[in-house]
Symmetry: C2
């Protein structure tokens, strides 16, 4: 319940701005600001400028809605990607997570959120219509639904599934199961159950 | 060990800048950057501008070296402060901590660090000479040493003490003792010992 008295209005401004960020309280904000004060001018200018540029110059790919520096992102414009497979994800971070696995060579579609009636987010607030249009207009063979297994994720999956059902496209979803390295006894029943239902041929894993 | 592939150079820049801050890793940096991406342009511009202004326009008070928007800070220029008492602190945060107690009405002297041979910081790297000069040139009655009780703090205290010893000025230091609200059994022996040595007259606390 401190009434904070900052020795400078400029300092106070910067602290205010930092403490608007998620997970950063006023004390951490002050610590960060004092750290910046100790840096060279060029360093702080570069920081400030990078933020301003980020917000003003960044684009969203007009095909998949991933962030991009160009009109069409480097994934959508790559000739080596399988452009008949679309992986549907909630946000940019999911694209990065999937890219890091090096196991997917198709394209993405970034919804920019999931259907969540509690938060007032309906199907029209996220990029579902553009996905359906994309599937209809291009020769898409498979749509991989890669949303999280929350109620909202399941709802969104189901909504997209219904919308795509009539079309000639395979709809798949990520397999769920025991994480690699996890012990069975500490895995929740739901996941373990799903691992059993979706059990795979051992031979196919080890190669013939 | 992820090789991070960012979908945008602008995004990557901003993540790099954020992850230079103390205590912010690349994952948190990305989270913060994506948060900013979702904000209005004006909000992000204000953030970036506040940082640039902070570093370029902030001043250090030429009397006490506290940060300030003016040549002489609002504490040093206040007519209601006791200008014969100087409290010596390590940094700006300490000024704010002491100001928040509302128990000190004198002036400050911000050293901007403490003597730490391990980090290559000697007496001439911090504002000690200016303190001595200030005490000599003005009618200072008391210097309160309010540095932390680390080895470096003690060394700095002692150095200042030696420098001021010949002058006609009272040198005091913060009392150390059991924190208000702390249980005796959980207090370290050193602090508890100091509390005993410096025990105060109970009557003086409760009033006569």
């Amino acid at each position: 319940m401190n009434i904070e008295k900052y020795p400078s209005k400029l300092l106070e401004n910067a602290v205010n701005e930092f403490s608007k960020l998620p997970g950063i309280g006023r004390k951490s904000a002050l610590r960060l600001v004092l750290h910046l004060l100790r840096q060279e001018k060029e360093v702080v200018n570069a920081f400030g400028t990078s933020l301003i540029q980020l917000r003003n110059e960044i684009k969203h790919c007009k095909v998949c809605y991933n962030v991009s520096d160009t009109e069409v992102c480097h994934i959508c414009s790559s000739p080596s990607r399988e452009n008949s497979v679309i992986c549907v994800v909630e946000n940019i971070r999911d694209v990065m997570a999937i890219e890091n696995t090096l196991q997917f060579n198709g394209l993405f579609h970034v919804l920019g959120g999931i259907i969540s009636p509690m938060d007032g987010i309906g199907p029209s607030d996220i990029e579902i219509d553009s996905l359906i249009k994309r599937v209809k207009q291009h020769e898409i063979v498979e749509v991989v639904l890669a949303l999280s297994t929350t109620m909202e994720g399941d709802t969104t999956n189901f909504y997209i599934f219904k919308k795509l059902k009539g079309l000639d496209v395979k709809i798949t979803t990520l397999s769920r199961g025991v994480s690699i390295g996890d012990e069975l006894e500490y895995t929740d029943e739901l996941t373990l159950g799903r691992s059993l239902i979706n059990r795979v041929n051992y031979e196919s894993l080890v190669g013939k």
